[in-house]
């Protein structure tokens, strides 16, 4: 049986730059995917091409090196600023790109193809600024968005050693003293560190209803970036522990009211979860690209590729496309202004589970080569795993989805009718 490869999929005259910067033999090339004419506008396609170019130019050549070192490539921030990726979800009036969610997802998928660690830095930056976007006054928005527009990254600090999946375990407190709040506690596994939306208990006696959200400037005295996490994957992403020691925060930096913290956190995560799905689709796509490249190198006569392998590749393509459309759907629902909690949970779960399955299948296909650092696939496996864990584990996503399903079984009251 012959494999039918169309010209649009294999442009064999191009040179593929491997992750280490060396070029491979002239015959190999990166499979070129067409942009999706049915779903993306020509403007979006242009943005996609541009993001692809950004990834190939800035990310792919350095990703392996920074993964090995476990260091964040600081220079990427400036490049991302120039490309408009730092402020892509920030409204124009504050200097942002104000791109639609679908478009942001397209960009993140491309960045995910390059390196999930760098994509994470960008997507968590978004998670950080969603909070003021949702609950901030114009003044607060200006205060938060300006440093980002000018070339900075922000964070979202919710997790604590005793508060992982269970936010009720949070112990960080915020005591109101005059026109300030004094924050004490610690946050862990925080991406990007420093400038952040930080969640603390203004009223510990109220449990989750006593959680509030604060804007905290990086470099504030009392905000100590302590441990840098040594991680299995997304190693170039900066993950730290934040220690808050009598951190003084102006009362004007409280987002919304005291007690709004949980609501703001959940709404921020709802917005961010499909983005995790998007970068996960990128990881999976890269894994498939690498498999195709590998088989192109290994089999001068492509007809010799056995049927089992062909079917595995086809399965990967099916899974990736399915995940891509699920993610895009969730983002389109968001752009339409509709509630997205369940679609967002589905997008994150499907995206990350797909990345995990496709990358592990790729690893199995590529044998010892796939297991070595000569090949990016082992990094993709490591990078994929965290997508199932952060921003709510896929178990938590299922709790969210199940809760909504069961709630829909309740007899309809006027309230539930309105909520839909």
């Amino acid at each position: 049986m012959n494999i039918c490869l169309t010209n649009s999929q294999f442009l064999c005259s191009c040179i593929w730059e491997t992750a280490s910067g060396r070029s491979s033999n002239g015959r190999t090339c990166r499979p070129q995917r067409k942009a999706d004419p049915m779903l993306l506008t020509s403007e979006q396609q242009e943005i996609q091409r541009s993001a692809r170019n950004f990834t190939n130019t800035h990310i792919v050549p350095i990703a392996a090196e920074y993964d090995l070192k476990g260091e964040f490539p600081e220079f990427i921030v400036e490049e991302a600023r120039k490309a408009g990726y730092l402020a892509m979800g920030i409204p124009k009036q504050f200097g942002g790109q104000d791109l639609s969610s679908v478009t942001q997802g397209v960009i993140l998928e491309e960045l995910g193809i390059g390196c999930a660690g760098i994509a994470t830095a960008i997507s968590v930056n978004g998670l950080g600024y969603y909070a003021p976007l949702i609950a901030g006054t114009d003044e607060q928005k200006k205060f938060y968005f300006t440093p980002i527009v000018e070339g900075g990254l922000s964070s979202f600090a919710l997790t604590e050693p005793s508060a992982g999946s269970d936010v009720r375990g949070a112990k960080t407190t915020a005591k109101k003293v005059g026109d300030e709040y004094i924050l004490n506690g610690s946050k862990c596994f925080i991406t990007n560190g420093a400038f952040a939306t930080i969640f603390a208990l203004t009223d510990p006696s109220k449990g989750l209803k006593g959680l509030s959200a604060f804007i905290v400037e990086g470099g504030s005295p009392g905000l100590v970036v302590s441990k840098h996490e040594n991680k299995l994957g997304i190693r170039c992403s900066n993950t730290v522990e934040l220690v808050l020691q009598d951190l003084h925060v102006p009362a004007s930096h409280l987002l919304g009211k005291e007690g709004d913290g949980m609501k703001i956190a959940m709404q921020s995560l709802d917005m961010a979860r499909p983005m995790v799905g998007a970068q996960s689709v990128g990881i999976a796509q890269r894994a498939l690209d690498e498999c195709l490249k590998y088989f192109r190198d290994k089999y001068p006569d492509l007809r010799k590729i056995g049927q089992a392998i062909q079917f595995k590749l086809a399965d990967m393509r099916i899974q990736i496309e399915t995940a891509r459309q699920i993610v895009r759907h969730a983002l389109a629902v968001k752009d339409a202004g509709l509630p997205i909690t369940v679609d967002s949970a589905i997008a994150k779960t499907v995206g990350s589970d797909t990345a995990m399955r496709v990358t592990t299948d790729a690893l199995a296909l590529l044998g010892a080569y796939g297991y070595s650092s000569d090949c990016v696939v082992e990094k993709l496996v490591r990078d994929a795993k965290i997508q199932q864990l952060y921003e709510g584990t896929n178990q938590v996503q299922r709790i969210v989805i199940a809760a909504q399903l069961l709630a829909s079984l309740q007899p309809q009251t006027a309230a539930t009718k309105a909520g839909g």
Partner: protein
């Protein structure tokens, strides 16, 4: 056939466990971080006869059954998969010498392999579509007094530290893989080049590199026309030992995750009280149990001289799924801590897939299994 282990097999297993706890466990994390060959540990293992296993007493080996060997590998893998992997690769080369070597070849090589003075390595994988095909295939050319090998082998485990290589090469370039034969190559042979040590996802500490042969003197091992069958048997034997490794690592991960689930409290209870976690743990435990006994069964077939290639292929197929899926879940159970390289689980995750690698694309377990059904 008894399904239960004999007293001797249990003692051998306990002995391996004691050794692993005492000597391998304390060094496992450091070995992974340094990625340096654990020469002292291997020497110590040789002194404990842990490089001899099924090799004959006549040459100084322990001459235990293959199942006893597999039990030992399982226990060693729980503590340090990288060290166990060095042993497994060494033993697969020793198996070949013992199984097909002439009296002279055995006399020359087995005592040194048993004492650990020589480490063994198996050179099979190539960069072409299958062994014997492609521009880099290792070709064996007959000379007056033996053979010379030319070509390239990739990802040879123990390369650089091995004293003896068992190399599969084609005697007829036109026939390709069909003309495979087995050869013995001395590490000191002229023209043998060991490439740069590769960095791998896991099993760090086990050396692995490409090996280039430039007219390297080689001695035929076994009949030249039996190479394909020998390769197939060797891969089956190796698959069973590697599956034992997968089971060992999975068991260690399961124990670690189970303990974590008992201790980590969220939502007011240990997370092990939640059905979602119980389901994951139960799935892993079940699959591990099934895999373990399939491995023991396959090993017993070897001991009893029964055909074992289909069972070996099944065990390989099953352990590929077992290892990866289980470790994905054990990391998941441990959440952020499971993802941290400061804890053990990340290393186990990286190690497990190294034990399920297909040696070469021609080794396609499903085909063999399907053929055995007909």
């Amino acid at each position: 056939m008894s399904y239960l282990l004999t007293e001797e097999q249990q003692l051998i297993r306990m002995n391996a466990r004691d050794f692993a706890k005492e000597h391998l466990e304390p060094r496992a994390v450091h070995l992974d971080k340094s990625d340096e060959f654990p020469a002292t540990t291997i020497k110590l293992m040789a002194e404990h006869d842990l490089l001899s296993w099924f090799l004959p007493e006549a040459f100084g080996g322990a001459e235990v059954g293959y199942l006893s060997y597999v039990l030992g590998i399982e226990e060693l893998s729980k503590a340090s998969a990288a060290v166990a992997s060095i042993i497994v690769n060494h033993m697969s080369a020793a198996y070949a010498v013992n199984r097909w070597g002439s009296a002279q070849q055995k006399q020359r090589h087995l005592p040194a392999l048993i004492k650990g003075e020589t480490l063994g390595a198996l050179a099979l994988t190539e960069s072409g579509p299958s062994v014997g095909e492609g521009p880099n295939a290792v070709i064996a050319t007959k000379q007056a007094d033996g053979f010379v090998l030319t070509g390239n082998k990739s990802f040879v485990a123990n390369a650089g530290r091995a004293g003896l290589y068992v190399v599969f090469a084609c005697t007829d370039p036109l026939a390709g893989g069909k003309s495979l034969a087995a050869f013995l190559v001395d590490a000191k042979a002229e023209g043998l080049e060991i490439g740069l040590k590769k960095r791998m996802m896991g099993l760090r500490g086990r050396p692995i590199a490409d090996v280039t042969f430039r007219n390297v003197a080689a001695e035929l091992l076994g009949p030249a026309e039996s190479g394909v069958a020998m390769c197939s048997e060797l891969l089956s034997v190796l698959a069973i030992a590697e599956a034992a490794q997968t089971v060992g690592i999975t068991a260690a991960a399961l124990e670690h995750a189970g303990k974590y689930a008992q201790q980590r409290v969220q939502f007011g209870r240990p997370i092990g009280a939640f059905e979602a976690i119980q389901t994951m743990l139960a799935e892993i435990a079940t699959n591990c149990h099934v895999a373990r006994h399939a491995v023991y069964h396959a090993a017993t077939l070897i001991e009893q001289g029964e055909p074992f290639s289909a069972e070996a292929a099944m065990v390989k197929l099953f352990s590929q799924r077992l290892g990866m899926h289980s470790l994905l879940d054990t990391v998941q159970i441990e959440g952020g801590y499971g993802y941290s390289e400061e804890m053990l689980m990340a290393k186990l995750f990286r190690d497990v897939s190294g034990t399920t690698i297909a040696e070469s694309p021609m080794e396609f377990p499903e085909k063999l299994i399907a053929a055995s059904i007909a």
